[in-house]
């Protein structure tokens, strides 16, 4: 509420400068007249009353400027002046402007790229149903010398698991052997971007 009121006052002061300045002026003029009348009422001659009132009230233009500043005009005028000044300076010093623009552009570009990657890779869940249940399965083969080697499961492994496995609702190879046709259909994304699953499988935990 308060912020809105301040913004409204600043907006009004900036774009309706004459109205705001006029209001302040009218208010001060009223004050001056009332003060003059008071002095006349106290027995001074009109001319003397007016002189004394003017002396008492002081510099109207100064009061008006000060009032205008307080009512939000000063700040906004300064901002507008600053913006104008910067634009003029940038137009004058093309080289500096170019470097500044490139620097900002590179900064924005790099930040956007980094945060896009983080957003897609870390913040968003994987585009599969129940992504928290997704598991990457490797096959470990132990050699005779005691060393071991991690391999992706073969198509035969996957088929065997499909037939017998009680743990997973679906299994799929994420990297088909080179030159061996399309991805495993259970892993393929459908046109809407969600992974393809047969309807009867959809609610299987």
């Amino acid at each position: 509420m308060k912020v809105l009121r301040i913004i409204a006052a600043r907006w009004r002061a900036l774009f309706h400068r004459d109205v705001v300045a006029g209001e302040i002026n009218e208010e001060l003029q009223f004050h001056l007249k009332a003060r003059t009348e008071q002095y006349e009422h106290e027995g001074l001659a009109p001319a003397e009353a007016q002189r004394k009132a003017r002396q008492r009230v002081g510099n109207l233009a100064l009061h008006q400027d000060h009032g205008y500043d307080v009512r939000g005009g000063g700040f906004m005028e300064t901002v507008v002046q600053d913006v104008r000044h910067s634009v003029r300076l940038l137009v004058k010093q093309r080289g500096f402007a170019l470097v500044a623009i490139l620097t900002i552009a590179l900064g924005i570009g790099a930040s956007t790229a980094i945060f896009s990657v983080i957003d897609a890779a870390v913040l968003h869940p994987l585009p599969y149903p129940n992504p928290e249940q997704l598991v990457d399965v490797h096959v470990e083969e132990r050699g005779a010398d005691g060393g071991s080697m991690q391999l992706g499961p073969s198509i035969a492994d996957v088929r065997a698991w499909r037939a017998a496995d009680q743990v997973f609702s679906h299994r799929a190879r994420s990297r088909p052997p080179r030159g061996r046709g399309p991805h495993d259909p259970q892993f393929r994304a459908h046109p809407g971007g969600r992974p393809w699953l047969r309807p009867r499988d959809r609610h299987v935990g």
């Binding site: 009121r5 208010e27 009223f30 002081g58 000060h66 009512r71």
Partner: protein
């Protein structure tokens, strides 16, 4: 009678203006007049401080203002205390009373 200078008045101007509006809306000149009368001319409100103070307090939501006609049929801007303004007046009066009592206590020692 000697008038206090505006510096001494500055910190208390807001409180005095709020106080003068407690009994009903007034225009700027009437506020100045009332403060002069009530203080028996000890306090003189400078126009250069009064109006900015009014605008500032209006911006803070302590006052609202509207143009209306005076008793003599002239257009003037009348200021009215808001609920927040009343709360502010109460708070400032409390701290002022505490301060002056403390100063008085020191001076009387």
């Amino acid at each position: 009678m000697a008038r206090t200078n505006s510096d001494q008045l500055h910190g208390t101007l807001d409180m005095l203006v709020l106080k003068s509006l407690e009994s009903g809306p007034l225009h700027g000149y009437a506020i100045a007049l009332r403060l002069e009368r009530l203080s028996k001319d000890v306090l003189s409100v400078e126009e250069g401080s009064l109006y900015p103070a009014l605008y500032r307090m209006e911006a803070r939501g302590w006052l609202t203002s509207e143009w209306a006609l005076t008793d003599t049929g002239r257009r003037a801007r009348f200021y009215r205390l808001t609920r927040a303004g009343r709360a502010q007046l109460a708070a400032e009066t409390r701290s002022w009373t505490r301060l002056t009592a403390a100063v008085q206590g020191v001076l009387n020692a």
